[in-house]
């Protein structure tokens, strides 16, 4: 038993060492720059989205392993699933990170609450590759806190065998002909954005009236909707279970690779565009090593490998040049000017506007379900009374049995 335990422990401890490390050895511009922390036992904590970095040693670059080999800095890599989760983690003060990659509106919130370190761009020479289109953005007007990592747009992905009209407007998601074949986002911000764009409002409207009208639109749409989904969309669209759905351009490409019948379009009314940017949160223990990591992510070869892995669009001009012609000219990944001109970022909404949105969203989701809002509390009280009753009856019985 003891031997078995020891053997098991030994196997566990050596798990990641089993991997064969076939280093592709990325070419970096300034080899000397990366040598600074060699042999000093420095480590950095990186917190990124799940499945958001190239990590397959056999087919492309294993970015973290390459960085460790090049600089001698150890990377502790962990992942999160949403901006809000990241916010909670940073606020709780439990863990300290050196690198995080939030989206635009969350960066604005971080900056407002003074949670980010200012970047020293002298330490990040590769920031010169950032496409000027993605500098001076509303969430970080002076580019002091963030370097863009990926970007993308929201559009409609549809199955050409199930749709016979040309899709070019958000109206398609409200089209009664596709009753039961429409999927929708399952989070309020994304779902409201579509209704707002359809009505010609801004995605960032504070006007309670406009928010309410958008909610009315969503209620009108509800009977047509087959399901409110996030990542289940992959299965449903690839399997041909639904005809139309809104989703992110990069993920639409992934779906289209599996099912030839699928197509993607960004509607004429305009859409939501997003940027995920690399930041250093306050409390970082090794800011310079973190900046070295950012610089490494901006190396053309590394950025290109990441973009190929993720499937979103790159804000890095040199990495863009490394992509194949088909991707470079894809109107899905890199839409023409006129579409981009009409695309909007999410801003961080004021508290009352987002609270109203959340409240109305609950109304939309629970609309027309055939029970009153008192039913669940009544049911719970009923259960409690029932269990108390049983216990009382049992104890009375027990007493009777004894005497």
């Amino acid at each position: 038993m003891k031997k078995l335990l020891i053997a098991a422990l030994a196997v566990i401890m050596s798990l990641p060492l089993v991997t064969v490390k076939a280093f592709a050895q990325v070419k970096v511009e300034d080899q000397a720059y990366y040598q600074k922390f060699k042999g000093q036992n420095v480590s950095i904590n990186v917190h990124n989205w799940g499945e958001y970095i190239s990590n397959d040693a056999q087919e492309s670059i294993d970015v973290n392993a390459e960085f460790e080999a090049l600089t001698g800095i150890k990377v502790n890599y962990t992942t999160f699933a949403s901006n809000e989760e990241l916010y909670a983690r940073l606020k709780s003060g439990g863990a300290s990170y050196d690198i995080v990659i939030p989206s635009d509106y969350m960066i604005a919130k971080f900056i407002r609450e003074d949670m980010l370190e200012q970047l020293n761009l002298n330490n990040i020479p590769n920031s010169k590759y950032t496409n000027p289109q993605f500098t001076g953005m509303e969430y970080d007007p002076e580019d002091k806190y963030s370097i863009p990592y990926t970007w993308g747009t929201v559009g409609i992905i549809y199955n050409t065998t199930m749709v016979d009209t040309e899709i070019n407007s958000w109206d398609a998601l409200w089209d009664a002909r596709y009753l039961g074949d429409i999927l929708m986002f399952s989070n309020p911000r994304d779902a409201f954005a579509l209704a707002q764009k359809r009505l010609g409002y801004s995605l960032n409207t504070h006007d309670p009236d406009e928010i309410r009208k958008s909610a009315e639109e969503l209620k009108v749409q509800k009977p047509l909707v087959q399901a409110y989904v996030m990542d289940e969309i992959f299965d449903k669209m690839q399997g041909g279970e639904a005809a139309l759905a809104p989703y992110y351009a990069g993920d639409a490409l992934t779906m289209m690779a599996e099912n030839e019948d699928l197509a993607f379009v960004v509607p004429n009314e305009g859409t939501n565009k997003f940027v995920d940017s690399i930041c250093i949160p306050k409390g970082s223990k090794n800011k310079e090593a973190a900046e070295m990591y950012i610089n490494f992510l901006c190396e053309p070869e590394v950025a290109a490998a990441n973009i190929e892995y993720i499937g979103y669009s790159t804000p890095n001009t040199a990495a863009y040049e490394l992509l194949d012609e088909e991707t470079k000219n894809s109107p899905i990944s890199y839409p023409p000017e006129e579409i981009m001109a009409k695309a909007e970022f999410f801003y961080d909404l004021p508290k009352d506007a987002s609270a109203e949105m959340d409240e109305l969203w609950v109304e939309v989701i629970s609309a027309e379900v055939g029970y009153s809002k008192w039913m669940i509390p009544m049911l719970m009280i009923g259960c409690i009374l029932f269990s108390v009753g049983i216990n009382v009856v049992r104890s009375i019985k027990k007493k009777r049995d004894i005497y």
Binding site: L9, P16, W49, N76, S92
Partner: protein, 272 residues
């Protein structure tokens, strides 16, 4: 009627094992899809072993499970022995306190542990790092009740004079515990160990609140994939874990059957 019950039996079995079957089936799928099967491949298994994110979190999960279970078994067994020798009133009270963490929603346990650790770090000044230390402490905490609940019944079954008899025959208290009490309660200890280990392996909520910047367990890694897409490498990993569990069960049962045969034969020989 018999036919109907057989149909019902197979229906239940299918309901229990179909999901695992589908998962195993799609771990051999050529494409990333979870709905369209495009052809057989072992690619995901190959990729799994070069995916450091998944392998590291698997390692973290296993290390935490092993360490926390060992501690929980030691503490829990000691606690069970203590509880067993208490008077009725104390025992009842302590047992209620022990049940509480099990009945308590996991999310409450998770958040309260996190608050405790942050409080210790910021207010009391104990330099506790979020990561392995907090994860292991949290897992020990929620594992102890399961060990106690598994060991106590065995202690109740045991003749409590056996221990005293061992002392009378010249054992030191430690020897008496090691040679007499422990073998008696060992089935309870083993089942407590297994239960604590499994709970530790698949705990998500408590780990979620107590993991740090340097370590993350497998369930958290899988959860974080849900925004993009859960990678099929996870199917491959789940298949391997399932195969290991099945293998352990089969080996355990074979060993058990052999042991039984052995004791039966022995008993038979003695009666002759």
């Amino acid at each position: 009627m018999k036919k109907l019950s057989r149909v019902y039996f197979w229906f239940v079995m299918a309901f229990l094992y179909m999901p695992i079957g589908v998962l195993i089936f799609f771990s051999f799928n050529q494409s990333k899809s979870r709905s369209v099967f495009t052809g057989f491949t072992l690619d995901w298994y190959r990729k799994l072993f070069s995916n450091n994110v998944i392998l590291n979190s698997l390692r973290t999960t296993l290390i935490i499970a092993v360490i926390s279970t060992i501690f929980a078994v030691i503490i829990g067994t000691a606690a069970a022995i203590g509880i067993n020798s208490m008077n009725k009133w104390m025992r009842g009270m302590i047992m209620n306190v022990t049940y509480l963490p099990i009945i308590n929603p996991e999310i409450v346990t998770g958040v309260s542990l996190m608050l405790l650790f942050v409080f210790m770090k910021n207010k009391i000044g104990i330099p506790i790092q979020f990561g392995y230390p907090t994860l292991i402490l949290a897992h020990i905490t929620f594992n102890i009740p399961y060990v106690i609940l598994n060991v106590l019944p065995k202690l109740r079954q045991m003749d409590r004079f056996v221990y005293e008899a061992a002392l009378d025959l010249g054992c030191t208290p430690f020897q008496a515990f090691w040679k007499v009490v422990l073998p008696e309660i060992s089935p309870g200890v083993v089942s407590g160990f297994l239960m604590a280990f499994t709970y530790s392996l698949d705990d998500f909520i408590i780990s979620y609140f107590n993991s740090g910047a340097t370590s993350q367990t497998l369930p958290i890694t899988i959860y974080s994939m849900t925004r993009r897409k859960v990678s099929p490498e996870i199917n491959a990993l789940s298949t391997i874990i399932f195969a290991v569990v099945i293998a352990v069960l089969v080996i355990y049962n074979i060993m058990d059957a052999r042991k039984e045969k052995h004791t039966k034969r022995k008993a038979g020989a003695e009666s002759l």
